[in-house]
């Protein structure tokens, strides 16, 4: 598969890969600890539940996606396979984009329904006013 690469070039790629994956991993972990207040307790944007956390998550997903790309294309030699093979492996995985959007949306919706139920349980409901003057059918009044 690597007919166009010399043995030395191949070996270089391996050690480049080792360095790349190691550096990305260390940076990811350091950034996680930084963003979640383990390095300076005042910096906690990684878990603020808002924009900061969203940004943090995008950065983490991006770095991991790059690691995945490198492993698939260079360690698994996807870069040197014919186009048909590459597409037949990669195209089906685009379905996952739909799956992620749909199921996360669904999960978020369960969450907000649960919150709604909790809020409703806390509501104090005024009892309806007693109706005045009505007929009771004969024989229905008991006790």
């Amino acid at each position: 598969m690597d007919g166009h690469q010399t043995y030395e070039e191949q070996k270089q790629l391996v050690f480049y890969g080792l360095k790349l994956l190691a550096v990305i991993t260390v940076v990811e972990v350091a950034f996680a600890l930084f963003a979640k207040g383990h390095i300076s307790p005042t910096i906690t944007f990684g878990k603020d539940g808002g924009f900061g956390q969203a940004l943090y998550m995008v950065a983490m997903v991006g770095a991991s996606a790059y690691k995945a790309y490198f492993i698939v294309f260079y360690f698994m030699h996807m870069a040197h396979e014919v186009r048909g093979l590459v597409l037949s492996v990669l195209l089906p995985t685009t379905l996952l984009i739909w799956a992620i959007i749909a199921f996360f949306q669904e999960g978020g919706s369960w969450g907000s329904r649960r919150e709604q139920i909790k809020e409703k349980n806390l509501e104090v409901v005024q009892p309806a006013p007693k109706p005045q003057g009505y007929y009771i059918l004969p024989g229905t009044l008991k006790g």
Binding site: V14, M57, A68, M76, V82, L85, S88, T93, L96
Partner: protein
Amino acid sequence: MADSSVTHGHGAHGEDQNLWGGAKEPMKASYGKLMMWYFLVSDAFTFAGFLIAYGSLRFSSPTWPEPDFVFASFPFVKAHWPLVFVTFMTFVLIFSSVTMVRAVQEGHRENRRGVVFWMFLTILGGATFLGSQAYEWTTLIKYENVTLERNPFGRYMADGELVDASGKPVMENGAPVVVKKDDSYLLHGHEHDGKIELEKKYIKYTSGNYAGQVHEVSQGPKAFGALFFFITGFHGFHVFSGVLFLTIIMINAMSGLYVSRKNGYEMVEKIGLYWHFVDLVWVFVFLVFYLL
């Protein structure tokens, strides 16, 4: 020499050969390699299903245990070192992936000694990873009492102060213990009549919907334990079967079986694809369980 894997010994017959006979390789990859790729595609969907289930359950919960609080133990050290051990595990897998690439390269050069040497290092890496996972699971199950349906790790829903069962504030160093929204807690367990019971803690909320009320501090989201053990367990099972197959193929390589096939140690290349996939899945397990 380096091209030996392209021809696979029997790929080069004339164009007029019977196309249904299987001699032609439509994707310039052997049947076995192609099927390994498609197996990995289906396996990727299985893992994606698991990880997406984790995501939707997490989104559906008002709180979720904080990974850098949960995963902070380290062998032989009594310290709170968030994410350090799992980073070590990640490095072990990266190293074993790298040694696997080297084994495949030596296979293309038909270098038997090289193949066996690098495969042996790969197996060592896989075994180290499994041992590390055993440590991690032991810590969670034995010392922190996480099971498939019990999760003592949680986070407070709102600000408050800890009180005892009668409603009196819990004092520490002469001051009441104040907790903030999203702070993490672990309910310690103790054995009682052969069953684990979690300690009882109470909180008097000072903010949120329940301000002024005293509530028992409950377990964290229960799905956490089941998701963690199933997903890392499924990945660990992949590592385990990978180590098994790597060992078989290494022994075959030692015996000289692949020398006679003259196809550039294609079997090593196939198990290599599987092994890199295990590393690839770990990238996402690491992301989802430990980083996010």
